[in-house]
Symmetry: C2
Subunit: 568 residues, 2 copies
Amino acid sequence: MTQTAPTHLLLDAHREVLEAATAALATREYYSRYPESPSPRVYGETAAEDGQRAFEKARNADFSALADQPGTGETVGSEVSPYGPELGVRYPQLDVDAAVAAATDAIPAWRDAGAEVRAAVCVEIIERINARSHEMAHAVMHTSGQPFVMSFQAGGPHAQDRALEAVVAALVEQQRVPSSVLWEKPTKGDPIRMQKDYQVVPRGIGLVIGCNTFPTWNAYPGIFASLATGNPVVVKPHPRAVLPLAITVAIARDVLEEAGFDRALVQLAAEDDGDGLAKTLALRPEVAIIDYTGGPGFGGWLEKEGAAAGKLVYTEKAGLNTVVLDSTDDLKGTLGNLAFSFSLYSGQMCTAPQNVYVPAAGISTDQGDLTFEEVAEKIAGAIEKFNADDTRAVEILGATVNDDVRGRATDVPALAERLGGQVVLDARPITHPTFPDAVVRVPALISVDAANDTAYTQECFGPVAFVIRTEDTAASLETFARTVREHGAMTASVYSTSEEVLQQAREAAARAGVALSENLTGPIFVNQTAAFSDFHGTGANPAANAAYTDAAFVANRFRVITSRRHVA
Amino acid sequence: MTQTAPTHLLLDAHREVLEAATAALATREYYSRYPESPSPRVYGETAAEDGQRAFEKARNADFSALADQPGTGETVGSEVSPYGPELGVRYPQLDVDAAVAAATDAIPAWRDAGAEVRAAVCVEIIERINARSHEMAHAVMHTSGQPFVMSFQAGGPHAQDRALEAVVAALVEQQRVPSSVLWEKPTKGDPIRMQKDYQVVPRGIGLVIGCNTFPTWNAYPGIFASLATGNPVVVKPHPRAVLPLAITVAIARDVLEEAGFDRALVQLAAEDDGDGLAKTLALRPEVAIIDYTGGPGFGGWLEKEGAAAGKLVYTEKAGLNTVVLDSTDDLKGTLGNLAFSFSLYSGQMCTAPQNVYVPAAGISTDQGDLTFEEVAEKIAGAIEKFNADDTRAVEILGATVNDDVRGRATDVPALAERLGGQVVLDARPITHPTFPDAVVRVPALISVDAANDTAYTQECFGPVAFVIRTEDTAASLETFARTVREHGAMTASVYSTSEEVLQQAREAAARAGVALSENLTGPIFVNQTAAFSDFHGTGANPAANAAYTDAAFVANRFRVITSRRHVA
């Protein structure tokens, strides 16, 4: 096992980061490596301008940083910003056969480098990505439709923290196996002595299939978990959100080469919309691991056909994120928190709440008892108020990402009628002051009866939420647990002043297999999870079969090969 | 989370065992909790006699210890000892619907007991099993056909050590997640403080499908990994090897009840041969985890259809266990070691060597250079000599387990002709001095050319091995790596005096994804692995998708549910 000088240098350079991040993951205390503030004091006086310039330079041009990938000679690219403009970036089309061969050839040296060196190289990649966070923010904003600050945070430092989390989670699991041991079995005479060496080996190629809404945040855990455990990675971005992952892959390849490894360890498989490249790649025999974020259709196919083909498949799809309202001693905080959660990125987060269960008899609050109708009106009012100022609202709402979302938010009365519900709040259109072509909608609220479960037991991705009339809180919790077990959820929250109800909610969440946030009235929102402390998803309900980042997410990405012999 | 007094007592009682076993698993140094010697000094003066009496008492009778399982009112049972006699044990037939409902109802209290209490209860179960090791030895012997001492060791203490290994591997993974943390995010003002609680929750019912040859050894890792992570377990034994697992399940249920938990956490699903119960159980929606040992037919079905149905499937099937002979400075030790490995339990171990690659030009040894033919003859001679004394030989060979194995070993010349090979050593029949109805065969050796790969690229389970003529050692290693990647292997070994060849063999084993034993000439055999130190299988080739016991075997059997709230 030879180790080259640059990788040793990276090991020294990043030892402290790895130790701190490992310690944080063990305690799950607050830890963040990458500052979430885009402030010039943190990222440098020229960082914002440099980032914007780099983004503009990439537009309407060939993405030459990946020109050295094995290519077909053709280019692909059809990105259109949800804010309006076409990006015009042309990516070299990957020659899949050649790419797979190159990735396979790259395995032995990366495998033999060992877990620690791989982790250090991964950290270096993440550090370099961090340095380009402003550029990344523009790339994420103009592919996902996220507002700028969110694009910076979720697309940049938060995604980078999740990447680092995956790296150390993988490192810890690999370090559980010693590199060697002297095994001495006592006998009546001399003990039997054996030297045993344990080598971590990768599974094969890791395929990471990105999504439109969180191109980096949802792709980094899979990319870095596979890479850190010795697997080469092919990144297949969503055709409408290529640029953030193209930048990522280009950085990774440069760092790998500088560290003495093969650039082919990370490759980008861009495609035009509708090429179906994900399925082709998923079924390649060399692909052993698949990480997927996206709709339940292809996700379900992967969970079935990919798994049947012997691949390890990690998915995040969709679900019914639920809020159970029982009572509150801070109505204002509750409504403000909920309004933000509904509004942030127009409900286009896989973690955004959708279904709010409210007892038919209403709830008690610090502002007196409220009927069901009053609760619904209060929530609607909070959403309206939160988004009253168009200029401020667009910085939270962002833009709707695709026609599917726009379709649902365009004629809410028709949607409500079709679902058998009543419109409490229609989706108000907003004209974006800077990007007039962006389709921006303030979230709508539809009221339905719990008995009408077809209305609310499918994901309604985007700026539409449901307030659901239940018999009482016990019924709310029961419906919550049942619908999440059946249909999945990424998040859940409960508001109650009763410890007994909170305990029942915890029990329901445990049965449903979803994480629970209790009485969020301040600056923490149910849609947001903190790397190193909160798991994203649980893997325990149909919304996702994996969580960022637990041992199950990393432990099967590698295998251990023992060699043993007698020693004197 | 309430904990009952008995479970606390068990926690105190077994804390030291858990700590010692956990430490051993981390270092992979020698560790064994359960003595492998059946000596009266270890297990008590009357243990052997008591065990035999208990076994005889079970015969030709209803297995009443499981009468309290939810049953159909019918009994099943068709066990016939490979040594001849019918066992005549009648097992209550499980009512699957009622059993699944009972198991599901048992989950919350077992889940809420926590990882430490579950581990302690599991240790208590294993300790009680250990106390009945002599009885178990007879049960294993007369279902598997193993010789007595092997039945005692592999069916008793070695299986128990593997069980304990699974328990602590599961415990370590569960303990990686703290039960709670105070999370403090710094802000410009007061930090944001949240209390986060993490609860380990099980996946659902664990189904463990046992095999005929190692009913306990191969079932215990799955049983205890699932149970220790909070999942109720349904044990579906092989219809011809029920008794060892019936005893196991009965002990587990008693311990669980004494510890304050539900007996339904462990249930036995016995069936008559051909009932097809495994498939029925595997497709139950309540079954989330499947552990399987057995033939590749049903194993392949589970890997495909079970995985496609969203189950976690852990399999051990079959493969081409390989020996690469290059050179040796201890010919006598090499031959003796190989002869034992071929003979032990008549080659009916999933780890028994089958394919021996020898260069066409022969090998160099401390007794001079040997031609290919001489090597083959020497191996054959060693097998003959090792089994020369019938009375001693049967104590190693045991009995052939089924007609399939007997068919292959009955007319070796016809088999060789069909495969295009030459008989180097025919399978000599031995009449067992105590059990005249047992079919006992000294292993046969067939010589084939490497080009004739159809002859040796399928598993030939039982007392038939192949010596395969290759171009040279480089070709041996290449064929080894390729055939194992394609067809799988549980074990591999190499003999060489050259460090360079050994290094190449390690590289080939890493590519093949199989553990390697080097130059075994003493009391360690390639078919044997030591719990806490050697992995059984790797999960990196088609023979098995899992290993006993690594993190990947346990980490996905549970999930973590977080609840979080603000604190002052």
